[in-house]
Every structure is written in C-alpha cells, then in structure tokens.
Subunit: 363 residues, 2 copies
C-alpha cells in the first residue's frame, strides 16, 4: 500500500520513517523540489491546488493524509472523490479558521479564552469593549508559529494592530494569564478507537515551541482527554490530532487544534511505546492503534535556525538527534533532540545541557 | 553526508531508516532492481564486482559499509582506495572463510568447537578420525542460513556429504552438544570505543534463526564480551559485529562472526536505548556510540516465507512489525516482529502468541 501525504516537510518525513517498517511506501505532494521527506518518500512537485498534481497523487496513493493543514479545502474535497482522505476535508473547514475552531469548541462545551470575531476596525473596538485588554488579535486563517498575530495592550494600538495583520477577517482573544500551556496528542482510527498520549507541557519563545515535556499521570489528564474526545467524536476524526490548551488552575481553555502529527508530540518517538507518527499511519491505514503509554521520562527540544553537529548532541547521554535534512535559516525548525531518561531529575539535567546547544531554547 | 552500503536488502533498509534521522542519506549497490532498501536509499543497480558501479558508489558516498559480507574482497579493496570502507576489507578475508575465522579465534585464545580443514575426501576421512562423529561439514566460503552444510552421522555418509557440498574447500566441525546458542552484538567506532549489547539467546529451526531474546545480566556476559573485545581490537574493527557462540556449561565456543548488523540483534530496535542499526551508522560516521543498555524485556521473532497482515500482528499487544517490502517466498525472511514487554513473563506470553502467526517459528 502507498500512502500519500500533502506536504513533504519534516512531519511527512517522520511519518514515512515510521510507516516504511510497517510495509508501506510513501509519496508526498509538495511545492518544493527539495522537500525533506523525500529521503523516505517519492515526491510529486506541485502546488496544492494543481489538479494535475492532485490527480497524480490520487493515482499513486491508496489513502491520503496531511502533514500540513493549510491545504485548500477544495483540493482535499477533490482528492476525497478519488481516494480516502484522513482526516476528512470537513476537518480543514474548522482547523483552518480560528473562528470556526473556537465556535466548535464552545458548541462542544470545551472552554476557551474569551473571543470575538473582528471584520473591521469598528468591530475590533467593539470586541475590545467586551473582552478587555490586553488581548491578541489573530487572523482567522493562515497563522502559525506566532505569525498573523498582534498583541494589543492599550486602545491606542487598535489601528496599528488591525493594519499589522493586514485588515483581514480575524478574532480577538482575551490575553489570559495561564499557568502553563499543554497539548493533548491523541489518535482515532476508522473503527472509532481512541488512544491518548500523556499530556505534553509546552514551552514557547517568540511564539515558537522550544521544549515539550511528557507529563504522564498529570492531574489535568482526565479533563484534557474528555475535551479531546468530544472533538474527535464530533469530527468523526481519523488520524493523530494535537489540541493545545492553556491551563489556569484546574481549568483548561482550548487554544487551537492541529489536524496532524504535532511538534509537541515528537518526544513520543523515544518516549512512548508507539510514536505519534506510527499511530498516525496505523489510523489512516485502518489498523489497530499502538500503545500510547510513556516509556521512561521524555522530552523534546527544538533546534531552530542553527544546528550543532551530530557529535555535539550525542556527547550528551540519553539524547536522540532528529535532523530534518533542511539547511539552517533564522527561525526555521531544522532538527529536534528527543530525550528519554531514567528519572525526571536526569531528564531535567539533560534538557539543561541540550538547551546550551546551538539552535536550542537557551542558546 | 551520504553513506554507501554494499547490499540493498532489509539490513541496509533498517540501517538507512536509522540513519536518515541522524541527517544522513543513503545509497545502496545491489544486483537487484527491486532491492528493498530503496524505500529509504538511492539504488545503484549492479554486480558487486562491476567497476563502473563501484566507481559510481564511491563518487556518491562519503563512507562505505556493508549489509552483506560476501562482497568480493577485491571490490572492498578497490573502494577503499577511494573512500573509507568500514569494516576494513581485511575483515572480509577472515569473515568470508570459515577456516580463516576459526584459525583467528584460536590464535586469539577464543575457544571453538573442534575443527579441521578438508580439501579432499581423504582429508575428510582424516578429519573424522581426529574429531569423531557426528560432525558437520561446511564449505569454507559462501555458506549462510544452513546452506553449504552437511551433517555426517556415520562413516558411510562421508562421500555423499563431500559430494553434497560440491567438493569445495571445507572444514569439518565437531558436532558438539551445547546448551544454547547466543550471539554478542557489539559496536566499535574509529576512536576505538566499544559498546556491547545484552547477549542474544537464539533459537534456530532448519538452520535459520527464528527467535532471538535479549538476556541482560546473563551470567555468560563477561566471557562473551571478553572474547568479542579480542576480536574487535585485533581486527581494528569499525561498525557493528555479531559473534555467534555455542554455550556449554560456563564455556563459550565461537561458531562464527558476521561483520555487519545481524538478525539476532533486531530486537535492539525496540529493546535497547540505541539500536544496532543506529550504532552502526554512528560507528562508520565517526560519531560517539549510543547506549546499548536494554529497554524493557525484548525479543524478535522472524517471519519466514509467509506473512500475516499488519493487523494480525498488531492485535497482539507490545508487538512492533517490521516488514521488509519483500514478496513472501518459501524460506525467505520477509519480516520480523519486535517485542518489548514489561516483564519476562509477559514477553514469553507474547512470543507464544506471535509464534502462532503465519511465517513464525511455531506455525
């Protein structure tokens, strides 16, 4: 069986590396000629809305999935007339639009930060009146890694914030004080079976994830699972999902979800019985799901913009380098370091050492 | 960096799958157009003695290694004039010839079963007179998985045994009663650092490995390490080696070694902190070696000649299927099942269930 992936970056690369041992082969559609997934997948080079490229993908692949959710919905719907596409194109309708996403959370009884739609400067003023400041103005579509966002601290900043995001449909979100950000990585297969990974605790800098730690048996787990379950079942979801939450006391406020494997789940390669990448393949290939239980004490540190050598990483015990085959460039995720330790103390000591490497959070 | 591999079968496939995350790419030389390593490696299709193919490999690869030791020594020596080749071509001189291999064991003080060279029917009679029966006649070169061997139980069988192996240079080995067969998988890098995996306990049927179990802290470990160390250091070896021993009481008798990653070490993918495949890449890439310590209770079951579906394997908890992308054919290794369990009891229960699958030892 051949699995098609929309997007040929590091997520598709790690999906393919996990799926080849299961006996599958992979083909990715990517606009770039040097998509890094091609070490373990064939490449169709083309735009995501190029019908000839989509036809080629559907001709080669038995089932199609994404590493990248900003694929045109029309492309996903077109592919779905030819092959099973997981998650379904309807999921993109929600995931690509922060307003639809927040509205669905609300509809399902999943708490969110306060939010309001903003389609004009006037509506922005109305939203600020109802939500208060500080707040974050976010484009409804296309934002990621902190892009398409403007923090508003005073009313004097409204016009410049509205201009800075390009005066496009947006939502204003109350800037809530939270204790930490977590994500729940879960997987659901076509039979409706669901498995949840231990909660990930996420540290960001400049809007980009830097460190994610596995937190098995965290007290917030039941609530995170319950919310995530509602979403998965409502969407009749197939594949891995990542739902990001802000935690405040014993409350979770849903921030957003990614309909794909997620950076905050990279620790599962070493730190879970079966990784998010293998479980995504299992789900879309209609197979029994793998065990999501933790293995040791695990974390992941992103290397961004700069890369140490393999040897510099490996000199630190318990580290597992994952290079993406991408040239370093400012702000670009070029590798991550998986860490699996025998104790939480050893894990923290190792994170501290890895954080001193070029490209890491503390560097 | 690009790593070249002589041979493009499942061992090269698993080397590449382990090495791509480290940031390396792979090219394999294989006579077959459908070499299964190509899911994660480029292919140069050609014979192992095809100078043009060897030139192409040396032009593409920064360093060259093997998944297959029966490469012509002249090819390895030719490649070594252009690129680093690990293990060195001299290792093939020993590994390809059972007599050289046994003589080296003896020279290094590593015990072996009784053996004698056989170049004629007369010499076979002399060897039987000195070693006794039963005994095994083995071709000096080219034998694997029980091929090129004849068991001799009575003197009446000498001529037919000599004929059956093709009347080629051979050795006769005393057919010793042993308690079990183990292998020691170890790795040495260019800096001379050595790491040893836990001993593997190997079960064969019809001369083919069926099940291998990791045996951390086995009492025989120090002796197995000591013998293996002598071999690695004498050969100035770089890469993973597998040395097979017969154990009789507290004695080890060296049977043979493979200058490559080995089927009896496949359990290291799930059952060790760093797998034999990744450690082989680390060694030939001149990197610090990974931790060879056991992770949980691990084993490997080969699937030979026939394949269950992915789902049939995954329905058994704690199993990790590894399909090689090869069509099933009688006697052909087409997949293995890695198993990592929380206890030795759970491991044995899982092995028993896996052994009922098509292609497995008990099927």
């Amino acid at each position: 069986m051949k699995i098609g992936v929309l997007g040929g970056g590091q997520l598709a690369r790690m999906i393919a590396l996990a799926g080849v041992p299961l006996g599958y082969s992979f083909v990715v559609l990517d606009p770039s000629s040097d998509a890094c997934a091609t070490e373990a997948a064939d490449l169709i080079q083309g735009a995501y809305d190029d019908t000839a490229a989509l036809d080629k993908l559907a001709a080669l692949a038995d089932v199609i999935t994404y590493e990248f959710e900003n694929v045109p919905q029309a492309s996903a719907r077109y592919l779905a007339t030819k092959r099973p596409v997981y998650p379904a194109a309807d999921v993109l309708h929600v995931a690509q639009d922060r307003l639809n996403e927040k509205n669905l959370f609300t509809q399902l009884g999943i708490q969110t930060p306060p939010y309001a739609p903003v389609n004009s400067l006037t509506e922005l003023q109305d939203a600020v009146n109802s939500i208060g400041l500080p707040a974050v103005l976010k484009t409804r579509t296309q934002g990621y890694d902190g892009k398409g966002q403007a923090v508003i601290k005073t009313e004097a900043e409204l016009a410049s914030a509205w201009a800075s995001i390009g005066e496009v449909p947006a939502i204003l979100e109350g800037f809530i004080a939270f204790d930490r950000e977590i994500s729940m990585i879960a997987v659901r297969n076509t039979a409706g079976e669901i498995r949840y990974y231990p909660v990930s605790e996420n540290q960001h800098a400049d809007g980009i994830l830097r460190v994610a730690r596995a937190k098995p048996s965290d007290a917030i787990t039941p609530l995170a699972q319950s919310y995530t379950q509602k979403l998965l079942e409502h969407l009749d979801y197939v594949g891995v999902i990542a739902v990001e939450y802000f935690q405040r006391g014993d409350q979770l406020l849903a921030n957003e979800f990614a309909p794909r494997v997620h950076n905050s789940g990279h620790w599962t390669i070493e730190g879970a019985e079966c990784s998010q990448f293998e479980n995504h393949v299992r789900a879309v290939a209609n197979l029994p799901l793998g065990n999501t239980a933790a293995l040791g004490h695990a974390a992941m540190v992103n290397l961004i913009g700069d890369l140490p050598s393999q040897a510099e990483i490996m000199q630190i015990a318990d580290t597992h380098p994952h290079f993406y085959g991408k040239a370093p460039r400012a702000g670009r995720k070029v590798a991550h370091v998986g860490i699996r330790s025998q104790s939480s103390e050893a894990l923290e000591a190792t994170i501290a050492r890895v954080n001193k490497l070029r490209g890491a959070a503390g560097a």
